[in-house]
């Protein structure tokens, strides 16, 4: 057992000092215990008996950045295939058995990870664990072309629905290609291209499973209303005999230095889309998740576009009345993050004018520290969001696995929050100056069809 157990007092211990001028806050933690199985699998148990619910989260350290050339979208396609059945639980049974006993499930794939989560009444836990163990044990070798074809079509329709037929949806396809050079693991979008999805074979699936779906590459969280001793015994029975070839090596980012942007110029492009209002998106490569500067950029995103009192809203929407809406966000990743500013123009306002107005605000952020009042405000917003995210069992399970994957321990909530508490006005300014350079960024415009200059 590697972790430590916290006293259980409610779900988490939190007493935040969120009024200006009050003393510093007390601690915050998600009660949990960590175990390592003999095959290298990580197990994290987090009890909470306030409602008769239980959540399971299984995270595999594999995402779209691990994909082979000409196989973009494969990690996510594989995620769909994880529901396609085994001998014990044939195609369709995973969802059917779960839902018929009151459970539900979903999964997501990012550049860095694939996360499977189940939730249901407390009595369903043995079934959830049995089904997760079954597919980790047996799914790959039983893959067929029929199964791959079925989910290939579903995923291609997912691409159409969430990207091609949604206003501004194509940005998510194009932005990573502009922001990262060819060959960079983040160069292609998670969902991949139609062409590559079409090309995926059953052999690819089997090889992907054999490489990445290894117990030593997985972390299992159980959160909610359960007995830990009995649950750990069951987990050992189901998972411990699954053989491991050892944790696979993370390919990381060969040839790309950490701590520096590979962008050296301004990269511009204009997309046409079925939209009413033109939009400008600016993006930068920024420090990776939990690296120095990452937390400051979260706060800066809030300073710039978090609510009506934020700088971009105030300047562009409220005062100059040139923009319809604004957004600014640090999207954190394992190898590196991206900071994205997006502004929707009001009708008839040239995008040049929008860009100039954004640049003026960014220049201010780079040269002058945010005010004490702004700093308190955004810290309080971020801290309250932080606590609110810990309220549900499913979210807690997911967050514990996120910490496990990103920093190697689930016990990180307090240190995570500390990043925001300790941030300073000048620290935010310095990070903006270092990373949000005017001469090294992507500027992507989206304009109504037929309006491309």
């Amino acid at each position: 057992m590697l972790g430590k157990r916290f006293a259980l007092q409610g779900v988490l211990v939190a007493a935040l000092g969120l009024v200006t001028g009050t003393a510093a806050a007390d601690g915050i933690s998600i009660p949990h215990a960590v175990h390592k199985l003999k095959n290298g699998m990580t197990v994290i148990l987090s009890e909470d008996h306030s409602l008769p619910l239980v959540a399971v989260n299984v995270s595999y350290n594999v995402g779209s950045r691990f994909e082979a050339p000409k196989r973009t979208g494969f990690a996510h396609l594989f995620e769909h295939l994880m529901f396609m059945g085994t001998k014990r639980a044939p195609t369709g049974a995973f969802d059917q058995w779960m839902e018929s006993t009151g459970g539900s499930n979903n999964a997501w794939t990012s550049e860095d990870r694939t996360d499977y989560f189940d939730v249901g009444p407390k009595t369903i836990l043995p079934l959830l664990l049995w089904l997760e163990a079954d597919r980790l044990r047996d799914l790959g070798p039983l893959m067929t072309k029929k199964k791959v074809d079925a989910q290939r079509e579903v995923v291609r329709n997912e691409r159409r629905q969430t990207g091609e037929n949604t206003p501004y949806g194509k940005v998510e396809f194009r932005l990573p290609e502009l922001l990262y050079p060819e060959g960079h693991p983040y160069h292609h979008p998670v969902i991949g291209s139609h062409e590559d999805l079409e090309a995926a074979t059953v052999e690819d699936v089997k090889e992907f499973f054999a490489t990445w779906y290894d117990p030593a590459n997985a972390s299992l969280v159980v959160a909610g209303d359960f007995g830990p001793a009995e649950t750990l015994d069951r987990i050992k029975t189901y998972f411990e005999s699954i053989p491991s070839r050892g944790a696979p090596k993370d390919p990381k980012s060969p040839g790309f230095p950490e701590g520096a942007s590979s962008l050296k110029t301004v990269v511009r492009e204009t997309l046409e889309d079925e939209v009413e209002l033109p939009k400008v998106i600016m993006a930068w490569q920024t420090p990776k998740h939990f690296a120095p500067g990452d937390g400051e950029l979260d706060l800066l995103g809030n300073v710039l576009a978090g609510g009506k009192a934020s700088r971009l809203y105030k300047a562009l929407v409220y005062e100059q009345k040139i923009a319809q809406s604004v957004e600014a966000v640090q999207q954190s990743g394992t190898l590196g993050s991206r900071f994205v500013v997006g502004v929707l123009a009001r009708p008839g306002v040239p995008l040049e004018r929008i860009e100039k107005a954004i640049d003026a605000e960014l220049q201010r952020a780079r040269t002058k520290p945010v005010s004490a009042e702004e700093l308190t405000r955004v810290k309080n917003v971020v801290e309250t969001d932080f606590v609110a995210r810990l309220e549900g069992v499913q979210q807690r399970a997911s967050i514990l696995n996120m910490y496990q994957a990103e920093v190697g321990t689930p016990d990180y909530a307090e240190r995570d929050l500390e990043r925001y508490r300790k941030a300073t006005a000048d620290g935010i300014r310095a990070v903006a100056e270092q990373w949000l350079r005017p001469d090294a960024r992507v500027i992507l415009r989206v304009v109504p069809k037929g309006k491309k200059p």
């Binding site: 939190a14 409602l51 969802d95 009151g102 579903v154 329709n157 629905q161």
Partner: protein, 507 residues
């Protein structure tokens, strides 16, 4: 991030009991008295997983009823204490929404709610936003079809100052003309943008066709370009004065707050809010029969779209009809779960879509049953045919025994999950209060939903899910979908609508 499925598009239900049997790895029974000795076969290796575990029925869960009391100025209070975490969610619920918009002024209730936090009490719009952020709180005002409201989420230690801001927003909005000009312009631009979003367009057109564009439930909550152009600040102020009044308001509080603390805060912050002498406005009633209660096919052209957005609507139960909760449960098996008939058919069996599903919207004086899916353009005709067929079979043959079990289990856990977050609980209870339902409604509904028999569910399936009088709306490339729709047996001749829900001539 990219998901297995999108939950709201979702929609899913169940497969048959036979298929549930599943395979397990079998060991062969020992042969009886072999005629002659043979070398012992290696014992079949035991399955390390063993057989599929049985799942015990979930423990009973009765939704807790909030304590109900009144304040000195006539507000009703629903309080559900929960002290596990130091946070509080408040929902101020008013029983007037877009269904009460005057004819031709769709969006009035919505615009009124949106103006509340654009300056209130001693603060302008930006000062108010800053003050809310300073507390780490979130505060928003909005309207739905049958309700308006303001919601607040805050850590307990900041409850008192947050209450003052909430009271300003609810009782002392400024309705400043400069702010109105900006809000109206943003509103109009958003309505223009809506015409480019296929899902939003499908919803606008389906409601107009089903209820009648001039009826209470026939226009979108946020109105249309035509109606927004007619609404001015004077109308907004009058709507506020007539409808935002303490004798109509319910304050729902969920979380780490006691009755004594809450009462003290309410008496201090809301003391000055008095009901006008005039009686509150009557809640609008729709025409007796939804105008669209006959089979129609409506096409909205979206040239070059790679998918068609299909929406099929028909009348459903009102929220106060006992059938509403039964329809809600029956819906799980048709299109309200991943393993629902619609999702398994359109997505898992055919791969025509990323998801297909259905839902029941029970409103105060009307109800809607809606089926929807976004499908690859070339599968539009096939998908419409399959959706109509799935609904018809469901309505005429009823639920399988496995579906009866599935819907009971899923409905049970849905209730527990609805109470997992203080904010979602406050919203749920606020909706009930605004709809005029009792504080005990969720407990009673859970019991009725849980105890419904196959006969009950078959009856509501037959009554509400048969598509014979349904309206089929397609938002997609007209030139490509019309020939496909012509091949679907039983569909009426297409009518053509614009993205704002108005009939137009064919292109």
């Amino acid at each position: 991030m990219t998901f297995k499925y999108v939950k709201h598009a979702l929609l899913l239900a169940t497969v048959l009991a036979a298929a549930c049997g599943g395979e397990t790895v079998e060991t062969k029974p020992p042969a009886v008295a072999p005629p002659k000795p043979v070398p012992a076969a290696p014992a079949a290796e035991a399955d390390p997983l063993g057989p599929r575990p049985n799942v015990d029925p979930p423990p009973p869960f009765t939704p807790p009823a909030p304590a109900v009391f009144r304040t000195a100025n006539g507000m009703t209070v629903w309080l559900l204490e929960r002290h596990a975490l130091p946070m509080v969610a408040i929902d101020v619920a008013l029983p007037i929404g877009s269904a009460s918009d005057p004819a031709g002024e769709g969006g009035l209730a919505w615009a009124t709610a949106n103006m509340l936090d654009e300056g209130a009490g001693s603060r302008g719009a930006l000062e108010l936003a800053r003050a809310v952020d300073q507390l780490g709180a979130s505060l928003s005002a909005t309207a739905g079809t049958d309700r308006s409201g303001v919601s607040l989420f805050v850590l307990k230690r900041n409850l008192a100052p947050a209450f003052d801001l909430l009271a300003d927003v609810v009782t002392r909005p400024r309705f400043d003309a400069t702010e109105w000009k900006r809000v109206h312009e943003l509103w109009t631009n958003d309505l223009k943008s809506r015409t480019r979003d296929p899902r939003a367009v499908a919803s606008v057109v389906a409601s107009a066709a089903l209820h009648g564009a001039d009826q209470p439930y026939g226009h979108p909550v946020s109105g249309t370009l035509a109606s927004a152009a007619k609404i001015d600040l004077a109308r907004v102020k009058r709507f506020y004065q007539a409808n935002w009044r303490p004798d109509q308001a319910t304050i729902v509080a969920v979380g780490d707050v006691t009755r004594a603390e809450l009462t003290a805060a309410l008496d201090k912050a809301f003391a000055g809010w008095k009901a006008p002498a005039a009686a509150p406005a009557a809640k609008a009633a729709p025409a007796a029969e939804p105008k669209g209660a006959r089979s129609r096919l409506i096409v909205v052209d979206r040239a070059d779209a790679p998918q068609s957005q299909i929406t099929i609507v028909r009348p459903g139960p009102t929220v106060s009809e006992p059938d509403a909760v039964l329809a809600d449960r029956a819906n799980i098996a048709l299109g309200g779960s991943f393993t629902s008939r619609l999702n398994l058919d359109l997505r898992e069996e055919h791969g025509w879509t990323y998801g297909a599903g259905s839902r029941v919207s029970a409103m105060r004086q009307a109800g809607t049953i809606g089926l929807s899916s976004a499908v690859h353009t070339e599968n539009t005709g096939d998908a419409v045919k399959a959706m109509l067929n799935d609904a018809e079979v469901y309505a005429t043959k009823g639920l399988t025994p496995a579906e009866v079990d599935l819907t009971r289990m899923m409905a049970r856990v849905d209730v527990v999950q609805a109470y997992e977050h203080v904010s979602s609980t406050a919203t749920l209870l606020g909706n009930d209060a605004a709809l005029g339902l009792p504080a005990t409604y969720e407990a009673e509904a859970a019991l009725r939903r849980d105890s419904a028999t196959k006969a009950d569910l078959d009856r509501v399936a037959q009554r509400y899910f048969h598509p014979k009088d349904a309206i089929v709306v397609i938002v997609g490339p007209q030139a490509k979908v019309l020939p496909q729709l012509a091949q679907v047996e039983g569909l009426p001749k297409p009518e053509f609508f614009d993205a704002e829900g108005n009939p137009r001539a064919a292109k």
